[in-house]
Amino acid sequence: MSNDDISIETTRHIAYLARLALDESEVREYAGQLSAILEHAEDIASLDLDGVAPMRHTLSVVNIMRDDEVRPSLDREEVLASAPDAQASMFLVPKIVGEE
């Protein structure tokens, strides 16, 4: 972890990774705010955590299995009724494979 402020360029890259279209004022705002929030996070940077196991969740369970049996799933038409676009029992999306 470093004290370095998060650059405008890094902020744009993070927005791309997160698939968020941000305008220029948002990019500037988030660059500053993320820097401030991460500066606050400096308090754990100096902790010696070697040998401490990370906790991903608080349960002692590992895998949960159920019987592989056929049972009803959600109603297809009801699900598709809330989709932005649907056709022939499928979600319809803009063209993914380009022509060029």
Binding site: A15, E26, H40, A45, V52, A53, L59, V79
Partner: protein
């Protein structure tokens, strides 16, 4: 029985009256709908009201009784639902533009259990968008106002649920708590709010924010009502693999006896409290001592790193969970020149500022080069916090603290994200450890604004937690009253 009496009644008394036939579910629901009609234009607790369905459901309960059938533990009891719980056929929005118009094809398990017990869903309540916030100001639609003082926030993120109970729109409500989103608004609105042990209540149908932290729990105006609701909603659900089998909570009427119980006051949470909150905590300690509890200060050293760990872990999980809002299967789509641009425009326009901020923060914390230093380190801090709690619980039955460092604040008072995050400093550690914790209204400040005391317990320690909360409730001389019902104002 008058409408005014119905809206003041506890869930326990409503269910008893409906079961015995002293009054009907339709009468109860009608009184609450009138209360909503009279005051929700000021409070704005609801995103969606369910009046017609509620009356229909109430009639069904009354007909069931007329046929001589057995009625459930919450027969005829109106319940308000945070609008991040799916309800089949009723718009569910998370108070976000990106989900507006979504009609879920399924119902959350908690809602099914409440309805099976005879409870009547009366509406979907406002929240900070995707449950990210501590004031309900981050709702994409409108802020909710605190019924006790309409110029102040109700807290958040479950602000609409807390406000609906405080405003007597319903005796009980359901919220979700990722870092304090039930307890903090409960404290600010003067009601009881419970975050159960992680894994005690099914999350099926709760729209995920941070899956390893999210837990559903009740709001009520009494500890007994909140305990009854937890009994109804707890227990294993095969549709949520993190809901533990063989674990449920049994409601028992609490007899209050706390003599000899060992109560630790968390040292790290005594700093930074406002004067009135500090005073209330001191009074709570005195009350518990006078009832025979053994009260001492105890240090939970790693708790002071809770806020930092939380604001890396929760956004990291959120950035992953919220990837599903891509304009394909539900909600908003803003079409771009290709699929990538469609994702970007949809998410850029559909999410509000706080949600985008947390997605950015989480994406950064998980990105190559920062994962170990940020997310990885936060997960290790989480282990430290859990270990320090374990050490404290080897000497104490429960721990207490203030729920919120301050009383309800005014709108736009915390425009800097970090200062808003500080609102959750006392509540976050329980989520990181997976432990239960609740807020019980205990005192009022000089202006009559509510102050809650937080009771924390080890995993599955709900019974002792409720016992201590009941004792505090019995000792409290304060009762939160809506602004319109208060004669002083």
């Amino acid at each position: 029985m008058s409408d005014a009496q119905f809206v003041e009644m506890s869930a326990v008394d409503i269910a008893a009256g409906v079961r015995s036939g002293a009054f009907s579910a339709v009468e109860v629901v009608t009184a609450h709908l009138k209360q909503i009609e009279s005051y929700d234009h000021e409070v704005k607790a609801f995103v969606t009201q369910m009046s017609d369905r509620a009356l229909e459901a109430a009639r069904a309960v009354d007909e069931k009784r007329a046929r001589g059938e057995e009625l459930g533990a919450l027969a005829g009891v109106p319940v308000a639902l945070k609008d991040n719980m799916a309800y089949r056929g009723v718009e569910t929005t998370c108070s976000s533009k990106i989900l507006r118009g979504w009609i879920p094809p399924y119902t959350a398990t908690v809602v099914e259990r409440l309805e099976a017990a005879g409870a009547i869903a009366i509406g979907k309540t406002n929240l900070d968008e995707f449950a990210m916030g501590s004031s309900t100001e981050n709702s994409a639609f409108f802020p909710t106002r605190n019924p006790i003082d309409l110029n102040r926030v109700p807290g958040g993120s479950s602000g609409g649920s807390a406000a609906s109970v405080a405003a007597r729109f319903a005796p009980i409500a359901i919220g979700s708590d990722t870092g304090g989103s039930i307890r903090q608004p409960a404290s600010l609105c003067g009601v009881v709010g419970v975050k159960p042990t992680y894994g005690l209540v099914s999350r099926y149908g709760l729209i995920a924010f941070a899956s390893s932290l999210d837990q559903i729990g009740p709001f009520a105006r009494s500890v007994e009502d909140s305990s009854l609701v937890l009994d109804v909603i707890s227990g294993h659900d095969e549709r949520d693999s993190t809901s533990l089998s063989g674990r449920s909570y049994d409601h028992q009427a609490s007899d209050g006896g706390i003599e000899g119980l060992r109560v630790g006051v968390i040292t790290e949470m005594m700093d930074g409290l406002s004067d009135s909150v500090n005073k209330a905590l001191a009074q709570a300690i005195e009350s518990l001592r006078s009832m025979g509890a053994l009260v001492d200060e105890v240090s939970v050293p790693a708790a002071k790193f809770g806020l930092t760990a939380y604001y890396l872990i929760a956004p990291a999980e959120a950035s992953s969970n919220l990837a599903r809002f891509d304009g394909v299967r539900y909600g908003l789509r803003v079409e771009g020149k290709d699929m990538n641009e469609t994702y970007e425009l949809t998410r850029g326009q559909g999410f509000g500022p706080e949600v985008k901020r947390r997605i950015m923060l989480g994406t950064y914390a998980l990105s190559a080069g920062y994962y170990d230093a940020l997310y990885g380190k936060a997960q290790k801090v989480r282990t430290l916090i859990a270990n320090d709690f374990d050490a404290a619980y080897s000497n104490y039955d429960v721990l207490i603290s203030a729920t919120s460092p301050t009383v309800a604040f005014e709108f736009n008072a915390k425009s800097d994200p970090l200062s808003m995050y500080m609102s959750d400093v006392c509540t976050i550690p329980s989520n990181l450890a997976g432990h239960p914790a609740m807020s019980v209204p205990f005192a009022g400040d000089e202006d009559g604004l509510p102050i809650g005391i937080q009771v924390l317990a080890p995993s599955f320690g709900e019974s002792v937690m409720f016992k201590v909360a009941s004792a505090l409730e019995a000792a409290a001389k304060y009762r939160a009253v809506p602004q319109w019902a208060s004669t002083e104002k």
